[in-house]
Structure formats: structure tokens, C-alpha cells
Subunit: 233 residues, 2 copies
DNA sequence: TTATAAAGTAAACGCTGTTAACCTATTGAC
DNA sequence: GTCAATAGGTTAACAGCGTTTACTTTATAA
């Protein structure tokens, strides 16, 4: 049986491997992710890594999990600071949406890892990644729901209708009904919009078209919030 | 100097290579794209392909170009049919947006090729791909601008403000001013939303969350159009 | 002290893109 | 008709990749 200290050493090595992987990806893009390159950077041989990760895919999954958590942590943290500064809920939502873009711009490779499929042959095991991916939704739900109660948010008419099949899914899977359900539905659409803006920018489809991606994102977000009945004043 | 017939033969082989590449990608995902696999499927050796494409990257660029064009063609065609059937401009916009999703769902690998970066080390040469990518925007601009004139579209208040830097870029690059410029700005945001919805579905982040991706997309689109002042009646 | 498990190695397999050297058949020009 | 040129193909090779196998070393638990 391995001792405590050994387990800690093993865990430390796992972290070092992931850190090296992230560094390589930051330098050379997702293409730079290779077991042999990681091993080379760590003065080891590639097969040794198999003592820490069952395969390259397992390593990627671990990186994705860390990514989702770090992403949600960052947005949550920015939101918390906004709350501590006494900002209104709509303002906190705006801050969170700005944070959503900031993280992606600062970690473009991680973003591609999370929401693209940049590694040949790799398919993320959704049963493992989905829980971590869902955390981001919770951050926004924790803003939208109180906002609805305080009256700072009023769901606009076109957003009140939820398709029957989707309605059923929300009820069965999340146990959500009524206005709470409508808010979840609205959040999913807001998320899609936000994601679309960010993903297009990360993949270089935005700047050539609008010139200034930051200004575009900021204004698009403001307009979207207003149209969604979230009064930024 | 090569003769006409030789040039045609060369062109035919190029098309056959691309077709084989598309077939392999459809079967095994973007990971299945490999020169050696293509050559194997064509009963050739890999180096022979270098007579037709300078490198794997060149082949990918050609596939991307075809993809953007086929994508725009499909959406344009669906829009034309809707127009021929006497649909209103808002309805044509709705049809075009449905078509945008349909093509992506039917060609998920191509979609990833166009808007992701699934090939290790490959970076799309934007000066080549951007013109083809922009065609899609034209399809929608050709709907929004007449819609504005007929009064079927009225730009909502929050959409009327365009950030200064973006405004300048629209003016300098596309020579657009006033309401035309506002429509271009709105179109870019509509596109982002549409893209977000579709990309999340293609990368399997939608169905686990909303249950029925088609119903979700349809309703989200309707709601978005209504909020954007496009009256679907 | 000794059996065991963890952590490392080298060698090999089959895959990849790409290059170099070479051959063959068709073509254009004289 | 002859001849040089060129398009289109071949094989062999290089360096890289993930992964497996067999083997060694080292630290630990009993």
C-alpha cells in the first residue's frame, strides 16, 4: 500500500505534467500537446507518463476538467467582487459576461480545448465533463433568479414561451417550473449568444469584420441585456 | 505547357482527392483526415498527392473554401425557395436561419473544419478564407436591407447605438453609413447568436441541457427575431 | 530482511507528413 | 519522326507521434 507521502508525490507529478502540457499548448497551440514533448520537457521518457495518466486522452480530460472549473471560478470571482462593490444585479450580470470573455481571451487554447475538439481522435467523455461544464450556468442562474425577485429583471414577452419538449426536460432534469423555468430557458439563450460572440472572436472571425472586438462585445452585451429585460440603467 | 485535356484531368483528380477526404472525415471525424489514408483509399501512394496539393494544409484550405461556399449556397438556395413561395422577408430570414442550422447538423465535420481548428498545426490563411466566409453575411444582408425599406423590420432602440470604433470600421471597410450600418451591426449580432446556438449543438453542449435541440433552436430564433424588430407575424 | 509495488528505462510497432531520387508515358516543338 | 520536357507516378527514408512490452531500479510495508 502506498504511503501518504508517496500519494502526495504522485499527485504533485500529475500536476507537473498538466502544467507542462498547458505550457506547451500555450506556446504552440493545441497542436503542441504531445506526450513525447511533455516528457522531453520534464526530462523523462514518454512511457513513464503512463504511470500518471492512462493515456493521452485521460490527460486531456483532466485538462478539460481543470479548465471548466478555472473558467467558472474566474467568472464567479469577478461576480463576487462586483457584488462586494455594491453593484446591482444587472451590473453584476454585465461584469460576469465581461469576465466570460476575458478568461477566454486570456486562455484561448483552453477555450478551444473546452468548446472545440482540437485533438485528433479525442472525444470528451460527457458524463465526466458535463458536471464541470454546467457550473458556469449556475453562476448565471444565481444572478438571474434573485434579479427576478427584486424586479430588476422582467422576462420579456417573446421569452415567456418555452417549447413543450424543452419544458418537459427542464422539469424532469432540473425540477424547474413556472418563472424559474423561463429564467433557465432565457439563460441558455443568453449563454448561446455570449458563447457565439466569444467563440467567433477566439477563432478570428470577429476582428476582421467589426474592427474592435472588445467594443463590439461590450455593446452587444448591453443591448442584449436590455432586450432581455435586464435593466442596466 | 499542359494541354486543355491535361488540365481537366488534373482538376478531376483534385476533386477526387477532396471527395475522398470529405468521405474519410465523415466516417472518422476530422481525425480521419490524413494524406496516407486518402492515398490508400484511392489506390495511390501518399507522395503522389503532392502533385495536386502542395501539402496537407493546402488540401484543408481547399476543403474549407468549398465548405464556406457550399454553406452559403445552401442557405441562399433555401432562402430563394422561400422567396419563390411568396414568403415575407421576416419569414425568409427565419427560413435562412433554419437552413443555417440544417447544413451544420448535416455536415458537422465540415462545420468544425470551418469554425473550429481541429487539425493539429493547421492555421487557416484568413486572407484566403475570409472572402468565402463573408458570403454568408451577404445572404442575410440581402434580406435585412430590403426588410428595413418595406418596414417589415424596425431596428429596436438598443440596437441603434454602434460603438465609435466599430462604426469607423464599418464606414472604412464597407462604406456603410446610417441605418444600413446599423443593420450590418445588428446582423453581426444575429449571426453571433445563431452561430452560438449551432456551435454548442454541434459540440454536444446543447442536447444534454435542453433535451430537444431543434425545438430549442426554433423557439430561440423566433424570440430573437421578435426582439430584433423583425416581425414574423 | 524480504516481498512488493511504484517509477523509471529502452526497444519496438504502426501510424503520421514530407522529401529525395528515380522511372515512365504523354506531349509540344523542331 | 525524333527529342527534350513535363506530368504523374513509384520506392525508400526521416523524424515525429501514441502505445505496449519487457526489464530494471528504488523505496516502502510487513
Amino acid at each position: 500500500m502506498p504511503r501518504r507521502r508517496q500519494i502526495e508525490l504522485n499527485e504533485a507529478t500529475r500536476e507537473e505534467i498538466k502544467a507542462t502540457a498547458r505550457q506547451l499548448m500555450a506556446e504552440k497551440g493545441t497542436a503542441g500537446l504531445s506526450l513525447r514533448a511533455i516528457a522531453r520537457n520534464m526530462d523523462m521518457t514518454a512511457p513513464a507518463l503512463y504511470h500518471y495518466f492512462g493515456s493521452l486522452d485521460d490527460l486531456i480530460t483532466a485538462l478539460i476538467l481543470d479548465g471548466f472549473n478555472g473558467y467558472a471560478d474566474y467568472v464567479q470571482h469577478q461576480r463576487n467582487e462586483a457584488a462586494a462593490a455594491g453593484m446591482s444585479i444587472p451590473q453584476q450580470i454585465f461584469v460576469a459576461m465581461m469576465a466570460y470573455r476575458e478568461w477566454a481571451v486570456q486562455h484561448p487554447v483552453d477555450f478551444q480545448l473546452l468548446y472545440g475538439n482540437p485533438i485528433p481522435g479525442y472525444q470528451a467523455p460527457t458524463e465526466i465533463t458535463t458536471p464541470a461544464a454546467t457550473r458556469m450556468g449556475q453562476v448565471f442562474m444565481e444572478l438571474l433568479m434573485p434579479g427576478l425577485e427584486t424586479g430588476e429583471i422582467s422576462i420579456p414577452e417573446p421569452q415567456r414561451t418555452v417549447p413543450a419538449q424543452v419544458k418537459a426536460h427542464y422539469s424532469n432534469k432540473y425540477g424547474m417550473e413556472g418563472e424559474t423555468r423561463a429564467i433557465l430557458h432565457m439563460m441558455n439563450q443568453m449563454w448561446s449568444f455570449m458563447f457565439g460572440l466569444v467563440a467567433l472572436e477566439i477563432y478570428n472571425h470577429t476582428t476582421p469584420v467589426v474592427g474592435d472586438a472588445v467594443a463590439f462585445y461590450e455593446q452587444a452585451t448591453r443591448s442584449h441585456l436590455q432586450l432581455m429585460g435586464i435593466k442596466l440603467d
